[in-house]
């Protein structure tokens, strides 16, 4: 039995200035190395959930916190955020607000500098993080001059320099064009293959559902579905929630109805080979 790297038990949370809870009795477990896709309509508690995973909630936000969140063996209520930051990296929606230094290099160095590492170690981590993300050539640039996709990559590199075991991303592609979004999501998939646990909040299911091991759907502050991406996206109840079902799934469902089949593919390629008569 492997210990879960993230364990959320009975989490109910209310923001200080709010009357009703944003998260209601959330239970969630993730194993090391999993790629968990989180989706759901706007205002359903996804962002709050992300903040709870790295301890910003309740440590920085206050409010009413019930239940428990344990990340890599540490309880978020009794561990300071800077301690958790070395285990969980959180990428935000708008990269403009996560970059506050004047060059990419300093931006990525900010985290390791806070940890009071030696200069050699910092330089090594910066180099490594930038090359993993593939933006070594942007080292000297100012974040202001970069495109949204590049900025988001800088933000990811800045977290990788902290060497976290878990990456939590809160709609990282919300402000990006489809091509940059694709490259960010593929980067996530690559990082996941190298052993990082990924929790990704995303609306672009079309692009990402086939990469994930698991899909979780939030609605009204609760987890309403939890299963493999196929199970969740092909279920009957998912259509009523505010989720963009991938077209591949819609077409497959249609084919299933007319041919009484049980097709469950998530990629255009899979669907295409089925239509051509090859086994999926």
């Amino acid at each position: 039995m492997v210990l879960p790297i993230i364990e959320v038990k009975g989490l109910t949370y209310t923001y200080p200035e709010s009357e009703s809870p944003s998260l209601k009795d959330v239970n969630f477990k993730a194993e090391a190395g999993e790629f968990v896709l989180v989706t759901g309509p706007s205002g359903c508690g996804k962002t709050t959930f992300c903040r709870a995973l790295n301890g910003l909630i309740p440590n920085s936000y206050g409010g009413e916190f019930r239940g428990s969140v344990v990340v890599d063996g540490l309880s978020t209520t009794s561990t300071p955020v800077y301690e958790l930051a070395q285990r969980v990296g959180l990428v935000f929606q708008n990269p403009e607000n996560e970059l506050f230094c004047t060059t990419v290099e300093r931006e990525v160095a900010f985290g390791p500098e806070n940890l009071a590492l030696s200069r050699e170690e910092i330089a090594m981590r910066v180099e490594e993080a930038l090359s993993t993300v593939g933006i070594l050539h942007l080292k000297e640039k100012s974040p202001e001059e970069l495109s949204g996709g590049e900025q988001q990559k800088v933000a990811i590199a800045a977290l990788l320099a902290m060497k976290p075991k878990i990456l939590v991303l809160d709609e990282p592609t919300a402000n990006l064009d489809p091509l940059s979004a694709k490259s960010i999501l593929e980067l996530m998939s690559r990082l996941n293959e190298s052993g990082v646990t990924v929790v990704l909040v995303e609306h672009r299911l079309e692009m990402v559902s086939h990469m994930a091991d698991r899909c979780i759907v939030f609605d009204g502050g609760r987890i309403v579905m939890d299963g493999s991406p196929e199970d969740v996206l092909y279920s009957d109840s998912v259509a009523d929630l505010g989720i963009g079902i991938p077209k591949v799934v819609l077409v497959s469902k249609h084919l299933n109805r007319s041919r009484n089949g049980s097709l469950r593919c998530l990629t255009p390629d899979g669907l295409a080979s089925y239509v051509r008569g090859f086994p999926v």
């Binding site: 920085s60 930051a85 160095a109 390791p112 009071a116 800045a158």
Partner: protein, 249 residues
């Protein structure tokens, strides 16, 4: 707002860019002092001329000139105001003109010396030099972030202005007071959104371990080189020469 353009740093590779910010700080302090101390317009003009080689070496003449053009209005204003203020009891037109010119030159010199400093010093080097001058890191970082967010805020102000204009706000209407009041619908959203942004930036900082250790380290440490020593020597000599010139006049 052209005046502010003069302080927007752009990366360069001249000697002046590579000199330690602390050496340039020596230069800044020396020449600011001389400018404030001198009253003779000829001496003040000499200071002004001494900026020319600096501007040439740092390859910043275009933006420096731009800043002077932007300051033209203030210079004329300072001259006129000074002239009127000094001419009144004595009716000495020559004396008033001289003092007006001196005051305008003083202003010109201050803009130039600060412009030379900021145009050739990167914000990150400046921040690092503050840290090494024992300014607490929180203050140095605040300064650095202020520099970083200037363009972001000005872009945001433009968005808000566009939004309010498209709803019918007329910025250029009315007398002086009314025009200032026209800015309220721009400023209120700008301030509120800045507060929100500040919270999000704070989240991002905490998520990267801000405050993890009492004494944080730094990727780069500034070191004084021989060029710095030479630079300080040259500017000190120049300052001394200007000081003597002022005594002779």
């Amino acid at each position: 707002m052209k005046v502010f353009k003069a302080f927007e740093f752009k990366r360069g590779s001249t000697v002046l860019h590579q000199i330690d910010p602390r050496s340039k700080l020596v230069y800044l302090i020396l020449f600011t002092f001389l400018t404030v101390y001198f009253t003779n317009p000829v001496a003040l003009l000499a200071i002004f001329l001494s900026f020319l080689p600096m501007v040439y070496i740092g390859k910043i003449s275009a933006r420096w000139q731009q800043s002077l053009r932007g300051a033209l209005f203030f210079i004329v204003f300072i001259f006129v105001f000074n002239f009127i203020a000094t001419v009144y009891p004595s009716w000495n037109f020559y004396g008033a003109a001289v003092s007006g010119i001196a005051m305008s030159l003083r202003f010109l010199n201050l803009i130039s010396v600060f412009s030379i400093f900021f145009l050739t010093t990167s914000p990150e080097d400046l921040t690092q030099s503050m840290v090494q001058l024992r300014v607490p890191y929180d203050y140095a970082l605040t300064f650095n972030m202020a520099m970083r967010f200037v363009p972001t805020l000005s872009r945001e102000a433009q968005y808000i202005m566009d939004a309010q204009r498209s709803r019918g706000l007329e910025m250029e209407r009315g007398n002086f007071i009314a025009r200032i009041r026209n800015y309220i619908p721009i400023l209120v959203p700008l301030i509120i959104s800045s507060f929100r942004r500040a919270e999000l930036v704070a989240d991002a900082m905490e998520s990267r371990g801000f405050g993890a250790s009492k004494k944080r380290t730094s990727l780069y440490v500034l070191k004084m080189s021989q060029t710095d020593v030479l630079f300080i020597l040259i500017v000190s000599t120049a300052a001394l020469a200007l000081f003597c010139l002022n005594l002779l006049l």
